[in-house]
Amino acid sequence: MSPETGWRRRLEIALGSGPVPADAGRGAGEGVRTRDHLANTRTFLSWMRLALTLVAVGYAVDKLGVVTARVQDRPPSGEEGDRTTALALVLSGGVLANLSFARFVLQRRVIEGPALRSRALLDVTLMGIAGVIGVIVLLFLLRTG
């Protein structure tokens, strides 16, 4: 296998570690290409913070259940519900992190290509995960009152 088509080269392309082709970018000049990539990185980091927020909410759902029970003067029952919700939240944080990395890699390939496209479907899918989380938390709140 030649280095041009081998798995190593493909991994390089996927991770952006190989040599940059001379015609990379959407033809608007190097400055635009650079800013496109930097904006892509910032978008990834924003998704990452959303994922981290989900993890934090997961922790809060788990641990604040104990405090809520005390404030309401009842034994800390329903802990199983807390736990499942919390684990689901933390897990979705991890899934979201991986998906946003995939989004970053895809978008980067698009930036290096001739035409810039917005990845609406992928972004909406990612937001969908956040929406599902909202529903989970809502159900949890309704159930535990």
Binding site: A14, L15, G16, S17, V20, A22, D23, G25, G27, G29, E30, G31, V32, R33, T34, R35, H37, L38, A39, N40, T41, R42, F44, L45, S46, M48, R49, A51, L52, T53, V55, A56, G58, Y59, D62, K63, V66, V67, R70, E79, R83, A86, L87, V90, L91, G93, G94, A97, N98, F101, F104, V105, R108, I111, E112
Partner: protein, 135 residues
């Protein structure tokens, strides 16, 4: 009309904006790192409070899970430091590339961050599961 092939080294008028974009990216890294660190601090401090509650409930006994929750806090803070280091390293690297007029979209800092995020998530899940077994 012919498009000029990757105009020779630098149309200089966009360079300031590139550096500013690079700086905004560094700030985004900083916010991400700070989020990790703040969460780690919150987790470990809130756990002290919860253990105190448990102690009162058990009439002075209990206090399980102390070591593990401290470890979780440290994992989060270390994740934050790693994130900050990756961000600064990439910032400096990108700065040189902007000056050279050839930006290379490296993914390694994002790979690092994704792995860190997965590790932290798994650690927290393990903590939540183990913690209920103890209490």
């Amino acid at each position: 009309m012919t498009v000029e092939p990757q105009s020779p080294p630098r149309p200089d008028e966009t360079r300031p904006r590139e550096h500013l974009a690079n700086e905004r990216t560094l700030l985004a890294w900083a916010r991400t790192a700070i989020t990790f660190i703040a969460l780690g601090f919150g987790v470990s401090r809130f756990d002290v409070f919860l253990r105190q509650l448990r102690k009162v409930d058990n009439g002075g006994g209990g206090g399980a899970g102390a070591g593990f929750s401290a470890a979780i806090g440290i994992v989060f803070v270390l994740a934050g430091l790693l994130t900050a280091t990756a961000g600064v390293t990439r910032y400096l690297e990108a700065r040189g590339q902007i000056e050279d007029g050839r930006y290379e979209p490296r993914a390694w800092p994002l790979v690092v961050l994704t792995c860190v995020m997965c590790a932290v998530g798994l650690a927290l899940m393990a903590y939540l599961v183990v913690d209920v077994a103890r209490s």
